[in-house]
Amino acid sequence: MKIRPTAICAALMVIVAALPLTSLAQGVETARVQETVTTARFKKAAPYRVGVAAGYLSNSWVVFCLQHIRYEASRHKEISEILVTDAGFNPGKQVADIEDLISKNVNLILYWPVDEKAIQPALEKAVAKGIPTVNTGGGFTYGPGTVANAFIDQVVLGDMVARQLFKDMRGKGRIIAMLPIAGTTAAVDQLAALRTAIKEFPQIELLSAEYGDWNRAKAKQITENLLQRHPRIDGVFSPAGQMSIGVAEAFEEAGRLKEVVMSPGDEYNGWLKWVTKHGRGGAVTFPTRVGQEAVRLGLRILNGEPVKRGLTVPSEYISPASISRYVEPKRPDDWWASTLPEEWKPK
């Protein structure tokens, strides 16, 4: 008992050190997105019970997306019920949730994953039982467990944000990247898009990529230290508006906001307010109406209509000049510019 633990510990260290990080981010493959899916075997008569297996709900974007789902469902008589489960960022629980939804005999499952690979087996069970599954949100999944996707292409989004940033920086300078939770599709795709885009701009240097966990306070604290470490930072790549605010605040408090170019964020209301106030940055949208598109897609599958494997909801660039059409100054920061009718907006 004296030697073994140390030996094993050492072995562990060797293993960790020896295994290189081989996996590279995969761009969304057009061919797969465009692929046609036959859906005859999912055809069913109304009424439909729709299950929503949320990987998480405690996030304002997701709350808006879910409202879009409810709103769209309200417009279809054939949908009798919406059942929502919340995995609270735990993929194990999401697996269990999907199993529970199957037990409840839902006819369609919309979901957004905590981890897309982890819930594939559970989704496959659903598909095997004739329940179609629609991935909803910020990623494209290709696999037997996912019948179709209604999604925002994060690679495209990351690319748009990066290129706008580089344009605003006139193609040169040193940047930092603020990404969401490490390992999430969002973080992986955005970073991959950034790295790809950077290759075309030899004078752009990525100093550091950090993970702010969609957390404004954390983004701020990380940036405070980046400011200590790097005497000059010319640009910030931060596609998530809620973190961009924290980053910008840290620059402002250090008196260095002038030196830096902020990339576009998304249509997070707090960020839109910031853009309005400072007249810079802009936004590349991450549309919450993807939820509505997912419901429509699901209904087409239940009708037996052939669909594309991936339905892309495009992101749009909003320049600082036109931001005023989107910002809602009297609404909270933690809010999204959306096309929801007033009565369907979150209370």
Partner: protein, 314 residues
């Protein structure tokens, strides 16, 4: 001469009453009563049950192990990555998992004995270190679990779900170990009073190191089950497991002060937690209200179950 078995105090039985009441209430829901659903509940709870059984040893010994969650995550990632879906890699993956679990537990045990810092702080530190190692290794899902491990976690044997059977076997083994072996008695003795156990000639350091090894191995087995269920090496897979396991152990009537408690209570508590999730889902309770209800259940169960604790660790 009569051999009298240890009498059970009323308070030790609290969790069984709560579980029975919850089962009876759940029985009113039609969907709940289906065998498939019950098998689901048992299967969903299996990984936590294994971790909680391991944690029972640690807590009975008067210690605590916060590192098991991240250790589980590390094992999930490594097993899936090494095996990469190949059944031929099953044996090396298993060896790796168990070896790593035991090794990590042994390191924790060694540090616990050498450094003499509170195990909560020590394992809080090792938790952080393990988390760092997991994410240094990978920040996204990697590899694939071999079919054999998926079967272990999700499959059926003679129509019965495998994972709950495995839990049953492990729990029975743990129960016998704790109540019928010298080691088990020494675990309870060290938990009941470390100095007193030492004076009785028990090598308390060895007992402490061993329970950490057991905890590590339980994290390894739990990790295999999680890997089997998720199918991939998800780096966050273990997050929060440590607290769920501790909650289950304490709800099961094991005193955080050590010395008193049982594996059966732990397993009952895990079932109660799994049941709660399942029933609240079946009832279509909003996840936000579910969270509130779960908190209240933990509070309620602790009130029913743990009178007499007054201190942080009692």
């Amino acid at each position: 001469m009569p051999v009298v078995s240890r009498s059970m105090r009323l308070t030790d039985r609290g969790i069984y009453w709560v579980l029975a009441a919850a089962l009876a209430a759940a029985g009113l829901i039609p969907e709940f009563r289906s065998l498939g659903n019950l098998a689901n509940v048992a299967t969903q709870s299996a990984a936590l049950a294994v971790l909680a059984v391991g944690q029972t040893f640690v807590i009975l010994c008067g210690l605590i192990d916060l590192s098991v969650g991240q250790l589980t995550g590390l094992i999930v990632v490594l097993v899936c990555d090494v095996a990469a879906g190949r059944d031929a890699m099953m044996a090396p993956a298993l060896l790796l998992a168990i070896g790593l679990g035991a090794g990590s537990g042994a390191v924790t045990g060694l540090l616990n004995n050498r450094l003499r810092i509170h195990p909560l702080i020590l394992t809080f530190g090792t938790m952080s270190v393990l988390q760092g190692i997991v994410f240094t290794y990978t920040d996204r899902s990697v590899g694939r679990a071999p079919a054999a491990i998926a079967w272990l976690a999700d499959g059926r044997l003679l129509g019965l779900p495998v994972a709950p059977l495995l839990v049953l076997v492990l729990a029975a083994g743990a129960h016998v170990t704790l109540t019928r072996t010298r080691f088990g008695m020494h675990v309870r003795a060290v938990g009941g009073g470390r100095d007193n156990a030492r004076r009785a000639g028990i090598d308390t350091d060895r007992v402490a190191a061993t329970v950490f090894v057991i905890s590590g191995v339980s994290a390894a087995i739990g990790g295999l089950l999680v890997a089997g269920r998720l199918g991939v090496g998800y780096p966050h897979a273990g997050a929060g497991f440590e607290l769920d396991a501790i909650v289950a152990v304490v709800l099961g009537g094991t005193s955080l002060a050590g010395g008193r408690g049982s594996v059966a209570g732990t397993v009952a508590a895990v079932l109660l937690l799994g049941l709660t999730n399942n029933v609240l889902n079946l009832l279509q309770i909003s996840s936000f209200i579910q969270m509130l209800v779960k908190g209240l259940i933990v509070i309620g169960a602790i009130l029913v179950n743990q009178p007499g604790g007054r201190r942080a660790f009692a």
